[in-house]
């Protein structure tokens, strides 16, 4: 079975409430999100809340749940909203989190990830009106506080259930370890246990220091490179959802685009058994950190057969396989025409990383941040351990437009402001997110709960009615656009769906 790589990104933002001695990040996150909902969707009371009926984050893709595994907490009492663009905006683990709707390709994910940023920006402005004059909530799109605390930016990819999980683990690890050379958001110092912070001056990624296992169910402790959460939010007989926790939140559009676009292609290749070489690292966790700590991109990594290979050469091998794969199978299952553009950018990026990474200073996050910090350091004659550089590292990810150093740098863009603005309220048209979003827009007052794979309607007369949405690629504008237009009430919709 060929499964289109429906995909999405969930981002936990760092949050600071300025102007108070005892900030409570949970209440600050709630205030932030509630302020947005009141300003943007004042008529949507009672607010549509998330439906936890089908959530099972403790289910393990390896088939058994280890006894020591902790189910990720689900804090059902916290603010948890579904938006008309099909996204979920909520408080998770003391952070505001934004999950994009399901998207059909990397470009669409990028638009919705940027729309999420815009929603956070508007949320900060809305929250300001609720706070005392000297207070302000500021959010940061990063993954670490520089003191050993990390929060994630996760990717999700729809996959074929029949692909053996071991096959995914084998190849996905080598991709996740080596893709860091273009997806890293950059970080000053290290937070690796047992090392002093300034033993590493600057590294490629925010997250590498926090991985301790190859494969596992946890996401908050002993983080694994491959997360085994088996919660497809779709027909579990046909699909799995690969929940990827080994990536950085990106400010750069190109980094986000390559992160999800290339990974979708690689996962499609795994399903087709189209990867020609197997690279098994002797110690994948150590390789992850080695790649991140090596600014030269030249250090070879130990393979378990005693040979060594550089991260960029693993990526080159995957790229060469991908070209053959697309020649043979086309791009239908890995993002359509967008996949061709992803291929072109992937190939060019690898070339430049090989010849002179600094050429990517307006393109990739880690290079942009490194160049900025290095120039500042030189101008003021600072050592890498100077607090001013650590401050700039954090401020690179500041979401306030006037303060964000990433935005000041003027990085290359791929999508337009118009597309991003529209995606704050409009769902993608080519996944089931369209059905969710349009139903919310049209009949929000009648929807009592929503989640990824169902909507629950209260039509007044009957018991509550649940509409299952177990096929992520159905419920598109093409499938249901006319029907949604023709129905005047949710009851009519339910009748049409049952008829």
């Amino acid at each position: 079975m060929v499964v289109p790589k429906t995909l999405g990104v969930e981002t936990e933002y760092g949050i600071v409430l300025r102007g108070t001695d005892e900030p409570n990040p949970i209440s600050a996150s709630s205030l932030l999100i509630n302020s947005y909902l009141m300003v943007r969707e004042p008529r949507s009371q009672p607010r549509v809340s998330w439906d936890f009926e089908d959530e099972s984050p403790a289910r393990d893709a390896r088939g058994e749940t280890p006894l020591h595994a902790l189910a990720p907490e689900i804090e059902t009492h916290l603010v948890n909203a579904v938006l008309t663009n099909g996204a979920r905006y909520y408080v998770d683990h003391a952070h505001p989190e934004y999950s994009t709707p399901e998207c059909a390709d990397a470009r669409s994910v990028l638009i919705h990830d940027r729309a999420g940023e815009q929603i956070l920006i508007e949320s900060m402005a809305a929250a300001k009106t609720m706070l005392a004059d000297h207070q302000e909530i500021v959010v940061y799109k990063n993954n670490s506080d520089g003191k050993g605390n990390s929060y994630g930016c996760h990717e999700n990819y729809l996959m074929d259930r029949s692909t053996p999980f071991g096959q995914i683990v084998q190849h996905a690890i080598s991709h996740f370890v080596t893709r860091q050379i273009y997806i890293g958001a950059g970080k000053v110092g290290t937070e690796l246990p047992g090392m002093n912070r300034d033993e590493v001056t600057f590294q490629l990624t925010q997250r590498a220091d926090f991985f301790e296992e190859q494969v596992g169910l946890e996401t908050t402790l002993k983080r694994p490179i491959i997360n085994t959460r088996d919660e497809p939010h779709a027909d579990a007989r046909k699909y799995r959802r690969l929940h990827v926790i080994a990536g950085d939140a990106n400010m750069s559009e190109v980094s986000t685009y390559l992160k999800v676009g290339v990974t979708a292609i690689v996962l499609g290749m795994i399903e087709h058994d189209a990867i020609s070489k197997t690279f098994t690292f002797a110690d994948p966790v150590r390789a992850m950190q080695q790649v991140s700590h090596d600014l030269t991109l030249k250090q070879p990594l130990d393979l378990d057969d005693g040979t060594r290979i550089r991260a960029i050469d693993v990526q080159q091998s995957l790229f060469d396989d991908a070209q053959r794969f697309i020649d043979e199978h086309g791009t239908d299952s890995v993002g359509g025409p967008v996949a061709l553009d992803v291929m072109e950018r992937w190939g060019r990026t690898l070339e430049l990383l090989r010849s002179d990474p600094m050429e990517l200073a307006d393109t990739l996050d880690w290079v942009a941040k490194y160049r900025l910090l290095e120039a500042y350091r030189e101008r003021h004659g600072l050592s890498w351990s100077d607090a001013r550089l650590a401050a700039m590292d954090i401020q690179y990810h500041d979401m306030r437009p006037g303060r964000s150093l990433a935005r000041k740098l003027g990085l290359q863009t791929i999508v337009t402001d118009e597309e991003v603005f529209a995606a704050r309220t409009d769902p993608p048209e080519d996944t089931r997110a369209y059905f969710r979003g349009e139903c919310l827009r049209k009949w929000g007052d009648h929807i009592v709960a929503a989640n990824w794979d169902s909507l629950v309607f209260d039509v007044g007369v009957d018991p509550l009615r649940r509409i299952p949405m177990m096929e992520p690629t159905r419920g598109t504008r093409q499938h249901v656009g006319t029907m949604l237009e023709e129905c005047n009430t949710p009851l009519e919709l339910l009748e049409r769906l049952n008829g």
Binding site: H95, D145, S150, E199, T220, H293, P357, E374, A391
Partner: protein, 64 residues
């Protein structure tokens, strides 16, 4: 126990991986400097005023 030993070992060997500086070519180095000067002036205006306090107070609860 085995795990602890492994951790120690990887910690030790990591120290030997000295982080090399990026070898910028002289050409791109020059260009880099010219482009950066204006930007650094501009950025100076928006940088956090007390870097040390700001970095110290940026504490997050661990998430996923």
């Amino acid at each position: 126990m085995a795990e602890r030993e492994q951790k120690k070992r990887s910690g030790q060997s990591q120290e030997t991986d000295a982080v090399e500086e990026l070898p910028a070519t002289s050409e791109s180095g020059e260009k880099l400097k010219a482009d950066m000067d204006d930007l650094l002036d501009e950025i100076d205006e928006v940088l956090e005023t007390n870097a040390e306090d700001f970095v110290k107070s940026y504490i997050q609860k661990g998430g996923q």
